[in-house]
Every structure is written in C-alpha cells, then in structure tokens.
C-alpha cells in the first residue's frame, strides 16, 4: 500500500494498486488465452496440428499456407497451424517446447542439438522407418501410386535418415543448391552482349569488362563484378569436386566413394596430397582470380549487403542458394533488370586451369532439406504424418515449392520456371579433398585462406600457418583424429540402445523387428565398436604416435 505523504493517509489509488491491477489483468488475459488455446487443441471435433519451421524467406510461409489450405479442404475437421520462428531464436524456442512437452506436432529438424543429436532425436521424435515403406496415398492418381513413399523423393529420403540410429526420423520436403545469379541487363550494358558465361574463362573476361565499365562510368568505387552471400567459401565449394575429385583413387581408404577429412589428413601426412600439387594450386589460384573480382576485403560483406548490392545493380553476379531465389527475383523485378541463373562455370580445357578439371560436381547425391520430424508427444501423430505425406506427394510438393520458388523434391513434381536451373545436375563426381580436419584446422583455413584470396597475404603465409596448425599435436590433425575416435567409442551406447529397442520390440511382438535395420546396426557395432575403424586407420596409416595422444587408449574388443 502506498503512502500519500501530503495527507499522511494511505492512498487507495496509489501506484502500487495500479501495479497490482495491471498484474491481475495481465495474468487473467494470459490465463484466458492459454485456456482457449488448450481447449482448441483438445477440441474433439477438430484436430489441430502445429508445424514449426524457421523458413522466413520470401514466399515460403505463403506456400506452406497454400498447401495447408489444400490439405484442410481435403480433410475437413483438421486445422493446421503454421509457426514460423526466426532462425536465431528457433534453437531456444524449440528446446523449451520439447522439454516442457508442448512442442509442435511437426518440427523442422536442425539448428538445435535436440533436433540434430541422436540421443535427443530418439527421446523426442517418432521413428519412421516402418511407415515410409508403404506407398503415399496422395500419389494415388499418378504413376508413383505403388512406389514406396521413401522412393518417391529424389534423395530417397536420405535427408531424414540418421546414420547413427539407422533409422528415418524426418521427412525432407525440398532441395537446396547453390547457383550464380546474373544481372543480364548490366552484363549487356557493360560487355555489349547478354550472353551468359559458359566457361570460367568467359566469366572472368566478363568480370574484367564490368570493371572497365565501372571505371568508364565513374562507378569504380561502388560497382564490383561479383558478390557472394556466403563469402568465397560457397563459391569454392562448387569447384572443389571438379579440381580435386581425381584424388579419390589415392585417398579413399574405405572405398565409399568419398574422401573424408581424415582420409585427406592421412594423405597429407603421407604427402599423397600437398598444397603445392598442381591441381590444388590450380584450385587456389582460380579462387584467387574470383576473389580479385569481388569487393576489396569482401570477407566483411554479409548476406544482406551482398543481396542489396546486387539488387541495386552494383554487381553483375551474385552467388547464393535456391532459398534466396524468390527474394532476388522480386528485387530484380522491382529494379527492372533481367535475371538469369546458371551453374558455376567451369574452366574449359583450353583455358587456364582447364587441364586440372575432371568433371562437374554430381548434385544428385545431395540430401533433401526442409526436413520435418513428428514429435513423440503429439496427440495427433498419425494426422501429422498424413500431412507430411501430402506435402511430399507430387501435388503437395508442387504447391509448396512452386509458390515458394524452391526446388521440389518429389519425383515428377514440376519446378517453377525460376527453379528450373536449380534442379540437381546428376552428372559428375562426388569426391573432394577437404583440408579442414578438426575445428582448429577449420578455423585456420577459414580465417587465413581468406587473407590470401583477398590479396592481403601471399599463399606461402597461409601454407605456413596451415602446416603449423595441422601438425600441432595439441589441437591439430592428430588431436582431431583422437577426438573422432573417442566420439565413436561413446557412440556405441546409442547403437546399443537401438539394438536393445529392437530386441524388446521383438520380445513384445514377435516378427515386428526390422531385420535390415538390425543387421545394419550390428554391422556398425562390429566395424565401429570402440572406434575400431579409426583405430585400424591409425594402426595401418600412422607410423607412430610421437605425441602419445593415444596413450590412454585401452582397446576393448567385443
């Protein structure tokens, strides 16, 4: 109670009372809203499904809403609520919801350990392996009607597969790919032709012409040929396979068609691959050539600035992913320039670096994205899964991806016109050399390599630092190797949980066990048990342990 000091009497309408009233009102309103929402969710006459994601890019929410409305039209009595949460908050938000038991029925998987780590996935999400082998009923009117659901997606549903658990825990709904956006209007103004570059040499030639044009028109300080939403790393990503896939035969020790970072490290130790190899040098020098066509000190440019620069016609080429396509297309329309989308041009045989190109990167092996998992505590898990079936049916996937201008994932689903260039290119190779092995080496590569590409340090400087870090026994390649091995050892517990679950299911309901999954899990246990695969690599590929990083190792074989 407040004191009216002028009168010396207690005041009935003092500040404290107002505060109490506000508190009571706020509490009452919250209570009513919470009760109404709970009742709505629990209303027997209406099934409410909540779907949460962080895709706030232009068009996605509208597309999802369109798909939802179509589904609701077909399924009266079902209401689907879309919850778009900003990317930066999704982690905290979804963690809180999962722990408190109030998570949405469908959650986009990612950004949070609770959605990406196996031990949490097992705890909070429904395993889907047994459910995805049936045909998708929403494909009943097309040729996919008898095809198992997982086979109806371009990636075979790999995007939702958890290797560690040997189980599907999510359904992917879209594809993503990186491309080069071109301002054809500016290109024509600068070079006299709007022909798109077919080779790396042509691309660089056009970049030089744009530099000249900027100089001629007094825009030298504001115009650059190339900008990238994700730095030069995303551009380099498109060239690593073409330049370095030939190392596969030499470095792929487990013959799985990929060169893992540890295999690169082993090769680097044995000098099977060095930073001075002609093909590695060709890759670095090609990227330096691209870096020269970007803004001076481009590492300071973020995603928004890159898009803004391109939209304002102060750059002719923009490197970004399919998820930005609709936004960029709208900006191009507003600014009044013609937009084209192409794959990163490769050097031709008769051009510089062309001799080191093996072929294009194969995009067919890329996993689907926009993966949604079904929450274990969902009251309407079957209905939620049914909605995912609709979303990944040919029709549903077209609605979602055409409206949002994302590449569709379901076989036969037609992409929008804008998305045609984003469809995965199945030609080419998979393997690449990845010199970032372990977090500290990755830091050195990211932070130091960019200095070379920006022209602020010679390549020898990067090489010196890289060698210093990769051979540092405390945080370099050996440490990362030991750490990976240690992770494998600990991973055994998760595998045992999967196997125990299978055995329990078999005991309760004989014949229910997924024999294939059990076989795979047992095989993994045998080959990886206590990190035996990494131990085998160490014993066969590593001459000695000079730093004794493995001294604590006590092998325990099954």
């Amino acid at each position: 109670m407040s004191i009216d000091t002028r009168e010396g009497k207690p005041s009935r309408f003092g500040g404290n009372l107002i505060g109490v009233v506000m508190l009571v009102v706020a509490f009452t309103v919250s209570l009513i809203v919470a009760t109404v929402n709970t009742l709505r969710i629990e209303r027997p006459s209406e099934t409410v499904i909540r779907i949460a994601h962080w895709q706030l890019e232009k068009g996605y929410r509208e597309a999802m809403q369109e798909a939802i409305e179509e589904y609701q039209r077909r399924n009266p009595g079902v209401k689907i609520e879309q919850m778009g949460v900003t990317e930066k908050l999704y982690n905290q938000w979804v963690n809180t919801q999962l722990i408190s038991g109030t998570a949405p029925d469908l959650c986009e998987m990612g950004h949070s350990n609770m959605l990406t780590k196996d031990e949490y996935t097992v705890k909070y999400f429904i395993p889907l392996s047994s459910l995805i082998t049936r045909p998708n009923p929403y494909n009943a009117d097309n040729e996919l009607k008898d095809t198992p659901w997982k086979e109806t997606l371009l990636d075979g549903m790999r995007g939702g597969f958890r290797e560690g658990l040997q189980e599907y825990y999510g359904i992917p709904t879209t594809l993503i790919s990186m491309r080069l956006f071109v301002n054809r209007t500016l290109l024509k103004e600068a070079t006299g032709s709007d022909a798109l570059p077919k080779t790396f040499g042509q691309w660089m030639e056009q970049c030089r012409a744009i530099r000249e044009y900027a100089k001629r028109t007094g825009q030298e300080r504001t115009m650059v040929p190339v900008v990238s939403c994700y730095g030069i790393q995303s551009i380099q990503g498109a060239y690593e396979v073409p330049f370095t896939s030939s190392y596969e035969r030499m470095l792929d020790l487990d013959l799985n068609g990929e060169v893992l970072p540890i295999e690169t490290y082993i090769g680097y130790r044995k000098k099977q691959v060095t930073l001075q190899d002609p093909s590695m040098q060709a890759l670095f020098q090609a990227m330096k050539t691209v870096g020269d066509q970007m803004q001076l000190g481009f590492s300071g440019m973020d995603r928004q600035t890159a898009q803004f620069t391109f939209a304002n016609q102060r750059a002719a080429f923009l490197s970004t992913g399919s998820w930005d396509a609709s936004g960029v297309a709208l900006q191009a329309e507003t600014a009044g320039f013609e937009l084209a989308v192409i794959q990163m041009p490769l050097p031709a045989m008769d051009e510089p670096f062309g001799a080191y190109i093996r072929g294009r990167q194969n995009e067919a092996s890329s996993n689907g994205a926009g993966v949604y998992g079904v929450y274990k505590n969902s009251r309407n898990a079957e209905r939620a899964l049914d909605f995912l079936m609709f979303l990944t049916s040919r029709e549903g996937n077209e609605i979602l991806n055409q409206r949002s201008e994302w590449p569709p994932l379901t076989i036969g689903a037609k992409p929008s016109k804008l998305m045609e260039p984003f469809q995965p290119d199945p030609r080419g190779y998979n393997a690449r050399v990845n010199i970032s092995f372990g977090p500290r080496v990755a830091q050195a590569v990211t932070a130091e390599m960019v200095n070379f590409y920006q022209g602020f340090a010679p390549f020898s400087e990067f090489e010196r630092i890289y060698n210093e870090v990769i051979f540092d026994p405390r945080r370099g390649g050996d440490w990362a190797w030991w750490n990976e091995y240690d992770l494998r050892r600990r991973d055994v517990r998760n595998k045992e949980r999967v196997l125990a679950q299978d055995l329990a299911l078999e005991l309760i309901n004989p014949g229910s066990r997924d024999a294939g999954r059990t076989r795979r899990a047992v095989l993994q246990q045998l080959t990886r048990y206590n990190g035996t695969d990494y131990l085998w690599l160490f014993r066969t590929q590593r001459e000695a342990d000079p730093y004794q990083v493995w001294k604590d190792f006590q092998p325990v074989f099954p």
């Binding site: 001076l296 000190g297 590492s299 440019m301 977090p439 830091q443 932070a447 920006q454 602020f456 991973d491």
Partner: protein
C-alpha cells in the same frame, strides 16, 4: 514528522528509511517478550516476501553458475553421451596447451586501454549538460540522450557496419571527400614502404625494436608495460598505506609509470602495430575496414565514435547533480575557473560513478563476444584478428563442442574479472 502506516513506523531520527516493528518508536527500549514475538513474526513475513526473489535468484542465477563450475571439471560435449569427470584437465589445458586463449587477451588489453580513453567523452558530455544554465535545454538534452537507448543494439550495430562498408560506407565517403584517404594512403606508403622507399617500420632501428628487444622470451615492450602497471599498483598501494601522510615516493612512482607506459605505447604504435608490408587498400578509396586483418582492431576501437554512451552520461549526470551548489559558490569565491572546477570538484566527486562505469566497462570488454560474433563471425574475421576471450569461449563450446572446456575458460575469466573488480574497489580512490 513521522508518517504512520498500518503496522509500520517510519522513524524521524533513526536514520532515513529505517523500519521499526509495530509498537516500537525507533528509540531505545528494552524488548519485551511480546515485542520479540511480534518482531519475529514480522521478520518471518518479510523473509517470506523475499523468498520468491531469493528462489528466483538461486534458481536462475546461481544454479547455472554452479553448473558452469561443475562442468568445468568434465569432458562434456553438451549432450548426455559425453560427460566424464576429468578433474583439473580443462584448466591445465587452458594454461599449458592453448596459446590462442591467451593470445586473445592481447586484443582485450588493447580494447581495455582504448575503452578507458573512450570513457572521457561521456564524462565531458555529462559535465557540459550539468553546466547548462537553461533547465529546459538540460531536459531536452537529457531526453535526447535517453532516446538512443530504445534503439535495439543490433540495429546500431548494423548501422555502424554499413558505415564501414568498403563501397558504400559513410566512413569511406567522408575520407574521400575530405582528402583524408590520400593522407592514409601516404601514411601507408611512408610507414611500410612502397617499393621505392624502405618505410619507417622497415628501418634497422624499427626491426631492432621489433625483433631483438626480447628479455626472457618476452618482448621488451610488454616488459615496459608490465613494469609501468606494477609502478601504478605500487603508487596506489603506497598511497593507500600512507593515506594521512605525505608520500615522498609518489611522484617518482607515477612519473616512472607514465614514462614506461608512454614510451612502450609509442614504440608499439610506431614499430610493432603497423604492418611491415604496405596494405595498399587506401588508394582506390574503397578501404575494407572489416575485411582487412590490419584494419580490424582500429575499426573496432573507432566503433561508436564520438563514444558518448547514453547510460554512462546519465550515470555521471546523476553524480554531478548531487554536488551541492555551495561547493561551486565557494570555488567561484576562490577564483577557480572552469577547468579547475572540473579537476578539483566535479571529477573527484563523481569518482564513485566513474568506478562503476569502469567496472561495467571492464566486465563488458572481457566477456563480450556477441558484438564480435555478429561482426566478424565465429573465427574472429580474417586472420582471427578479432578473437577475444569471450568469442574463443563461444567457439570452444559451439564450434568445437567442448562445453566443459568452455566452462573452464569461463571460470578463468570470472576469476580474472573478480580480481580486477576487487582491485578497482580497493584502489580506484573516491575522495569525498
């Protein structure tokens, strides 16, 4: 005059704000058994009222801290699968095998020194505001200082980031328009050489300062700074011991400290911080302030110019408004001028506020990572030049998935901060 409320009595002379139990007047009275019981009941009620806050404090502030202490002794990757007690290993690793963590303190020391200087504009602004004769304008200015507080920090960060943009940033536009860019270009060529001249930092003397000035493996400039800081500490301690007597050693200690630090900073600025190769980034007029490794630290220091922090100004202003007008009138009678008033009245009398801001600034500088993360990414930008301990801790936890180790780094930071705070409390003197 005493004001009676239900059950509580506010005593007139028992010290402002003292609350006495019902039945008590606040004067000395022998406590009766009933009074004791009633007082006990009141204390129980008061403790009960405090309980929710106390529980909240324990649950949301102290429990996570306890978790951080606990996990600093664990090999923990943030999940349940990897949680193993490893004793002091994380701490041992931080002190023995992790040079990057300690390297990140170099940047923090530079930023701390810069931030001490950056505190002055706020003090000056508060004094100017305080001395404004018109109360109306004083009010308007105060409001103007408060308004920026409602702008989210991320917005001002993005605005400043756009200032630094190489192609379209306001900073480059200003430098190009005023011709200062050419001055920077000239400075770059003069200091680092341009192929024709050697450059100041490549002279034999500069090389000697840079490369051969080492004692016990530590660079001489760091020794000079360490000695300077030790002299300052000695000055403060001796001043504290000899509080009521003249301190004959004080001028020598202060003078020695000043010479050591000024010479060290001068040598460092001239020969050690400037790159030995020309940057060649000024001639085009599109200087990449956040993209060039050599320009990251100057850009971070210049950030927020003219460094008039709104919260700081308001805190100083609150301190200044407590100064009695009698003091000013007496000073005027003694013929003290504006500068004299600042050094002899205002600055000594707002030292409590200065100390508070100093503590907040130090804590902020040592623990901050969000600013660097948003600005330069998890690796601290090109060459990791923007790697501070907080960011290092963040990357240990969220990039390397070594949460236990990150907790240990956090505990080390906590101990360092505690030591600095105690030092400030003890030796940043407040003379009233």
């Amino acid at each position: 005059m005493s004001t009676t409320t239900t059950g509580l009595t506010r005593a007139p002379a028992g010290g402002p704000g003292k609350i006495h139990p019902p039945g008590s007047t606040g004067t000395t009275q022998a406590p009766s058994a009933g009074g004791f019981w009633q007082r006990g009941k009141l204390y129980i009620v008061l403790m009960g009222l405090m309980l929710p806050s106390l529980i909240g404090l324990l649950l949301f502030t102290y429990y996570p801290q306890y978790g951080a202490i606990k996990y600093s002794f664990f090999d923990w990757d943030g999940s349940e699968s990897r949680e193993e007690f490893i004793g002091w290993k994380n701490y041992k690793d931080a002190f023995t095998v992790d040079p990057l963590f300690w390297q990140s303190f170099k940047l923090v020391l530079i930023l701390l020194a810069a931030n001490v200087i950056k505190m002055w504009p706020s003090i000056m602004a508060a004094i100017v505001l305080h001395r404004l004769k018109s109360e109306r304008f004083q009010y308007i200015y105060r409001v103007l200082f408060v308004v920026p507080m409602i702008i989210p920090g991320v917005v001002s960060l993005l605005v400043w980031k756009s200032f630094y943009d190489g192609n379209t940033g306001a900073l480059n536009a200003f430098l190009n328009a005023t011709g200062l860019m050419q001055v920077l270009d000239w400075l770059d060529r003069t200091m680092a050489g341009d192929g024709v001249s050697t450059g100041v930092v490549n002279t034999a003397f500069a090389k000697a300062v840079r490369d051969q000035f080492e004692i016990f493996g530590v660079h001489g400039i760091w020794w000079m700074i360490i000695i300077g800081v030790l002299l300052i500490i000695a000055r403060m301690i001796s001043g504290n011991i000899r509080k009521h007597r003249a301190n004959p050693a004080a001028p020598f200690l202060s003078g020695g400290a000043a010479v050591m630090i000024v010479v060290a900073l001068g040598l460092a600025l001239a020969f050690c911080t400037w790159p030995t190769r020309p940057m060649n980034v000024f001639s085009l007029g599109t200087t990449p302030w956040l993209g060039n490794p050599n320009l990251i630290i100057p850009s971070v220091i210049f950030w927020g110019f003219p460094w008039v922090g709104t919260v700081g100004v308001l805190i100083y202003l609150a301190g200044l408004q407590n100064i009695s007008t009698d003091v000013y009138e007496a000073a005027e009678l003694d013929g003290v001028g504006s500068i004299g008033k600042f050094f002899q009245i205002e600055l000594p009398l707002i030292m409590t506020q200065v100390r508070i801001n100093l503590i907040f600034m130090t804590i902020g500088t040592i623990t901050d990572y969000g600013f660097f993360l948003l600005l330069l990414g998890p690796y601290g930008g090109p060459g990791s030049k923007g790697m501070v301990p907080g960011l290092y801790m963040y990357s240990a936890a969220f990039i390397e998935q070594r949460f236990g180790y990150a907790c240990a780094l956090g505990m080390i930071l906590f101990v360092i901060l505690l030591a600095i705070t105690i030092f400030y409390q003890r030796y940043v003197r407040v003379d009233k």
